[in-house]
């Protein structure tokens, strides 16, 4: 188990290093450290890497390092029988390095290092179990991320081409388009609609990977970029972002109510929370979104770890229809799972409550319109409903197939859970007491808020009961298929596009590439030209008159030229 200890210790070392740096640099009192390294001045734009160490980057990198340290300990338990464990730790280390580079270097070039690195290494981590379904998940993950990369490359090109040299006439349009590119890039990474299909598919990765990558680091990279570059977003982009994040929250919430694979339910809950963060950014509440980002990272990682324990101890069974009664079998795990679910729901005074309360306050007090408020409350109701559904399915002993014999919880597993435990339950209190930026005042009347929420939950409960009592089978199965496949998005994004495109390319190759270009021009045209020339030259050489003419002509030409 020593590679596991080495990996975890290195992460914790860097965590404490960052903490020390932060305290020394006076970061928590508003100071910042900026280092710039210039690469080239030959182009008219400055090609430089810029390191920024202020409270945002410090806090984020500290939480990333802490979570990855706990995940390393957890993977010492989860992947203990795996042959390529050292390779796994190397990949995790590279992933953490890319994330820290992304957080610390917010200039666009440094950003691309971290951004591309995240996408590519998450591909390697998702295809870690070398099977065909993990390959398909990996390909859709990395291709969705690549679309975001391309948007960022176009944003960089726009920055280097029309935002300097004083092209005044174009700066308005370019600024607007730049905001669109940035927003689209962040949306692909954070899996907003229409790029949401990859996140549930990426659950083919091992659970430690999901707990680090798909809960706290990869999907929050897009949110972080938008927080840093929020000055580029104009009214139109904020509007589009709010719509898209709202749709994502609805999609994730409704799909999680029907999903039977437990890891996918947790992934969809991540998706809805990231949608909530994006919604907060679209309202302009960047600091609140960042607070929710950090708090969510901790309790979601804990939730994934508990889920990983349940999956491991039930013999790699991820389907909730086979599980049950975990409350009696893994008491510590189910306790922490309960607490993290309460955080997710925003149950009063747990960790998630503080940040969610602030977002709700921002949503209600800024001008968003009646429809947005109603839909927002619907998302909150969805969160509560799927959380309770998951708790019910996992912990209550009601299934026929539930496995009866579990073993004692492993030492590594317990220690990783203990390390994360405080993080998930009291993170927000600690952060609010350290940083004065996180404690804002929100004008929400709790009696109104909770009563409306309860009303909506009751409404949904009745709706669900109505669905269950409906006798029309086709309608029920259509609704189930619609919700299970994420409003048909996962089918459209993956299978449909890739198969149609590849078939189109293959027929293009057969007809144009092999047909016209190679066979026609390559063989026929060239052969016919050379044949024609050859025959003509033969004819000419066989004729005495032709030879003399040819000799005279060439002598004449040479004399003319020289």
């Amino acid at each position: 188990m020593s590679p596991c200890c080495n990996a975890a210790l290195s992460k914790f070392f860097f965590f404490f290093l960052f903490f020390y740096l932060a305290v020394v640099a006076g970061v928590f009192n508003g100071g910042a450290l900026v280092l710039e390294w210039e690469l080239s001045e030959k182009l008219f734009v400055e090609t430089s890497f810029c390191l920024v160490l202020d409270w945002i980057s410090c806090l984020f990198s500290m939480s990333v390092l802490y979570i990855s340290g706990c995940v390393c300990v957890f993977s010492g338990f989860y992947l203990s029988h795996d042959k390529f464990l050292e390779k796994f730790f190397v990949l995790l280390k590279l992933f953490v390095v890319s994330m820290v580079v992304l957080v610390l270097f917010p200039s666009y070039l440094g950003l691309m290092v971290g951004w591309d690195g995240l996408g590519v290494i998450s591909f390697l981590l998702v295809i870690y179990y070398l099977s065909s379904c993990s390959l398909s998940s990996g390909m859709i993950t990395v291709l969705s991320n690549r679309v975001g990369d391309v948007c960022f490359i176009l944003a960089i090109s726009l920055m280097s081409s029309s935002l300097s040299f004083g092209m005044w006439g174009e700066s308005f349009v370019s600024g607007f388009v730049l905001g669109i590119f940035l927003m689209m890039g962040s949306m692909t990474k954070s899996a907003q609609v229409p790029f949401s299909a990859w996140l549930p598919e990426a659950m083919s990765a091992p659970t430690p990977v999901s707990s680090l990558v798909h809960s706290s680091t990869l999907v929050t990279a897009g949110v972080y970029v938008l927080i840093r570059f929020s000055a580029y977003l104009s009214e139109f982009e904020m509007y589009m972002l709010s719509i898209s994040s709202m749709v994502t929250m609805l999609l994730a919430g409704s799909s999680a109510c029907m999903e039977s694979d437990l890891k996918k339910v947790v992934a969809l809950s991540t998706l809805s929370q990231v949608g909530m963060m994006m919604f907060a950014i679209s309202l302009g509440a960047n600091v609140i979104a960042f607070f929710h980002l950090l708090v969510h990272a901790f309790f979601k990682a804990l939730m994934f770890m508990c889920m990983g324990g349940v999956i491991y101890y039930s013999g790699s069974c991820q389907d909730s229809r086979f599980l049950g009664g975990v409350w009696n079998k893994l008491p510590f795990t189910s306790c922490l799972f309960l607490f993290s679910n309460f955080s997710l729901m925003g149950f009063p005074f747990f960790s998630g409550f503080y940040s969610k309360e602030l977002i709700v306050g921002a949503a209600l007090s800024l001008n968003v319109g009646l429809m947005a408020v109603v839909l927002f409350f619907m998302c909150l109701a969805f969160t509560i409903s799927y959380s309770f559904r998951t708790l019910n399915l996992v912990m209550q002993d009601m299934s026929v197939f539930s496995l009866k014999f579990y073993s004692m919880e492993n030492g590594y597993y317990l220690s990783s859970l203990l390390l994360m435990m405080n993080g998930a339950i009291s993170t927000s209190l600690i952060m609010q007491s350290i940083l004065k930026e996180f404690s804002t005042v929100s004008f929400v009347n709790p009696s109104v808020f909770y009563s409306v929420l309860l009303l909506l939950v009751m409404f949904f409960f009745n709706l669900v009961l109505l669905f269950n009592c409906l006798s029309k089978k086709s309608f029920m199965s259509l609704t189930k298929n619609f919700l299970k496949s994420m409003w048909f998005l996962s089918i459209i994004s993956g299978n449909f596009i890739s198969s149609k495109l590849l078939m189109m390319i293959s027929s293009y190759i057969v007809y144009v590439e092999m047909g016209w270009i190679r066979a026609f021009i390559g063989s026929k045209v060239i052969n016919s030209i050379s044949m024609v020339f050859r025959n003509k030259i033969w004819e000419m050489n066989m004729n005495f008159f032709g030879v003399i003419l040819f000799v005279f002509l060439s002598v004449f030409l040479i004399l003319k030229v020289f």
Partner: protein
Amino acid sequence: MSCVLMLSVSCILWGLGMNEVGWLIMVCAVALLVVMMDCPFNFYILKSEWLGVDEMSVLMVLLCLLVSMMSLVSSTKEVKNGFVVLMSGWSVVEMVMFICLGSVLFFSVCSWMDFFFFFEFSLVPTFFLILKWGYQPERLQAAVFMLLYTVGSSLPLLMSLVYFWSYVKSDNMLLSKMVGGWKDFNMNWPWLIMSLSFLVKLPVYGAHAWLPKAHVEAPLSGSMLLAGVLLKFGGYGLIRLMWFSEVTNSTIVLFVLVFSLWGGVLSSGVCSCQSDLKSLIAYSSIGHMALSLSVLLSFYSVGKMACVCVLYSHGICSPILFSLAANSYEFCQSRSIMLSKGISRIFPVISGVWFFFCILNMGFPPSLNFFSEVYSVGGLLSLQWLLGLMGGLMCLMTGAYCLILYSLVNHGVVSSMVFKPGLNLSYRYLVSSVFGGVLLLGGTLCLDMFFV
């Protein structure tokens, strides 16, 4: 110039009976250092009556030397420990050194007639290389295609250079430019005819049929030199031609730009469906060269810099991908993607190197490929937003096929063709890969040298 002298002396000594290939590689490395010693900035110097030095030509000479070194190191079949395999009295080493010498001279000469001579000269050793050391009977047609396409399209260039020589009364590049060679002409159509040869060599999409054939049939050193050096002849020639032919941004130039850019997108799309590893990498070469050509034709200074950067970074990355493909040929005797699969479990280091070069090919920051790609798309976007969008589409498809390439070779269950007893892979592939990787990643630290 002294590097040329060193190379010629070492070739002569080789001919006289020296048998150590490692010695030749050392000579190349020292020649590299010697070349680095004079790097003029932004102006063209005539070193002698025969040779002229510009920063771009220094870069290209460096590329030649590096690629020849890597190709000598990686040809494990033909250059074994202590002896070389001979075919009709010649060995691969001599052919590689001929191509290297010819290319170094091509990038250094300063008169147009010598330029054309060395342009065609390096085709002869390549032709011989493909014919003698290739593996399949189709290599006859492939070699003939290559010759027909490149020589046939360079005949107009010869005619126009001869006419130019008689018009300006000198064929020195610098002198003819300073005298103002073509100023009285409308250079649109003549430019197209003259650059046809470079476009076919580059290769632009419509005239690219020779390249995948040649790559599939050539041995490893031939492929490495073809991809690394010979394709760059076209780019170099186009830059020199644009410099002296006073061509302006007109409809014809835009036509070639759009044609090559869209051809690049098509060729990158075609890559995702290839069944032969070498053919896949060949089509990726076409895509990269198309990107460099289109940003060069935008007539921005960023365009020329990005073009040279793409030429250089592709010239290092592509030969290494070819050597990795030859590596997989060695242990399963087939280049088909159906048969060489799943090496991630049994060769983890080679699998890591495959991954590294696949993502370098797609432009992974902070390597040189990333900068070349970003500034190419930037140059195109400055010209017209739709061209930038096409460039972005090409980046997307490049990413797709690079990862498809990686997952085809490395993912999944080990194919049954790979299990052979007594499997010994040469570590020479790893050495040349590490060398190239260090160059590409470390090139970021001296970007000023590559942004010519």
